[in-house]
Amino acid sequence: MQAASGAAFKAMEGSMKILKGLGTAAMACGVFLLAAPSFAHHSFDAEFDGQNCKEFTGTLTKLDWQSPHPYFYMDIKDANGKVQNWSFQTYAPITLRRNGTERQVFIENIGKQVWVRGCIARNGKSNYAAAGTMKFPDGVLRQVGQLQN
């Protein structure tokens, strides 16, 4: 898995690129970079481990755009270089639409490399996580789900 290793540094680099892109003093202040929390659709902690969140980089392979939660899938290399297919849960479609992450954004980026920070499922299901923040090749940081830390 190409997660955690060196991920913090990459994330910091990514954040700085975003700041340049946004280019406003308000966005430069970390406090304003915090995305608004979602109204609790349900208790995140019941299903996902907010203390076990990782960063993932891989190829977006598929999208299931459905209610109450869309799922997207990524091919991600593990530590041995073997490709594993992961699935990620997101906010409800309405919430994604209203924050500017339309279905079309996912569709246009299938087959491309994306970056996700997500939290692992509690029930032991392999290769399954809740997506929190995400970046497509355009480099824009998007909040696509709830993150606990």
């Binding site: 913090a8 430069a28 995305a35 349900h42 109450p68 479609p93 209203r98 924050n99 029930n123 998007r142």
Partner: protein
């Protein structure tokens, strides 16, 4: 110090300096890109003189979606400010508290309408609903179109009496009257699968809900809820005045038909039962 930590500390220092140099003291509240919607002008009125509650209402202070967005004024996230209008805690009878405490975390999760995909019902639709409501109001009739689960409700405003033996509905059986500019809706007869709050607060067959709707200005809808349930509560519970704000844009389709969480949570429940 590891390289990436040094980099992080450096970034924070640069950002802090930038904030100090570029944001004048006292001007921080102007930097939010999504702010609290101002009250707007006077509320529109129906031909019968009552405030017209028609509008696309958002459950926050911004009049637009706020979840997962950047630059939102924290004051725009909520429907009331607990420091200004604190909401009292419901006082449940001991047997009700014990019943809720006996639920495992997963059982509690599975009881939530957001997970089991059952309608939220009344009054939860006003207390635990992150999605919008379109209201269509005319003399004698108020139609509420809830975005969540594509639910709807028709409330007749002709003062018809409540049924003596009500059929249990998710939205209850309602009657309505005006008290000045406030529309008061009283309801009885609720489906026992609904919860008042997504914390296990259930209700009995004696639940009686009073909703008080007012529109003090163009952009604001105030909803106050009273829950009277003598079998479950020690005394009736009254909500804070929740302020919904006027927005625009589409009311989207939202049928909850593909909830994989149910399967995942059922697996968790099996694990919990094995651990008991």
């Amino acid at each position: 110090m590891k390289p990436h930590l040094r980099y992080g500390v450096g970034c924070l220092a640069v950002m802090a300096l930038w904030c100090v140099l570029t944001v004048p003291a006292g001007a921080q509240d102007k930097e939010y890109t999504i702010k609290v919607l101002p009250p707007g002008g006077p509320a529109p009125r129906l031909p019968d003189g009552h405030p017209d509650l028609t509008g696309h209402w958002f459950p926050n202070g911004a009049g637009q979606g706020v979840s997962g967005r950047f630059g939102v004024d924290p004051a725009a996230l909520r429907t009331f400010d607990p420091k200004v209008t604190p909401e009292e805690k419901p006082e449940l009878q001991p047997w009700a508290v014990a019943k809720i405490k006996a639920m495992t975390p997963t059982e509690l999760e599975l009881s939530k309408s957001s997970v089991n995909c059952l309608p939220r019902g009344v009054p939860a639709i006003w207390l635990q609903n992150p999605y919008t409501t379109l209201m269509v109001h005319k003399p004698g009739l108020l139609v509420q179109l809830y975005e969540v689960l594509n639910n709807w409700r028709v409330i007749h405003l002709d003062g018809r009496p409540l049924p003596k033996d009500p059929e249990p509905f998710f939205h209850g059986n309602s009657t309505a009257h005006y008290e000045g500019d406030t529309l008061v809706v009283e309801s009885i007869g609720f489906d026992d699968r609904t919860y008042i709050m997504p914390n296990g607060w259930f209700h009995s067959d004696e639940l009686r809900v009073t909703e008080r709707y007012s529109r003090p200005s163009m952009n604001y809808l105030i909803v106050e809820i009273t829950v009277d349930d003598p079998k479950v509560l020690v005394k009736p519970w009254k909500s804070a005045p929740h302020r919904w704000t006027l927005g625009n844009g589409e009311v989207y389709e939202f049928y909850c038909t593909n909830n994989k969480e149910l399967q995942e949570l059922e697996k968790l429940r099996e694990q919990e039962l094995k651990g008991k």
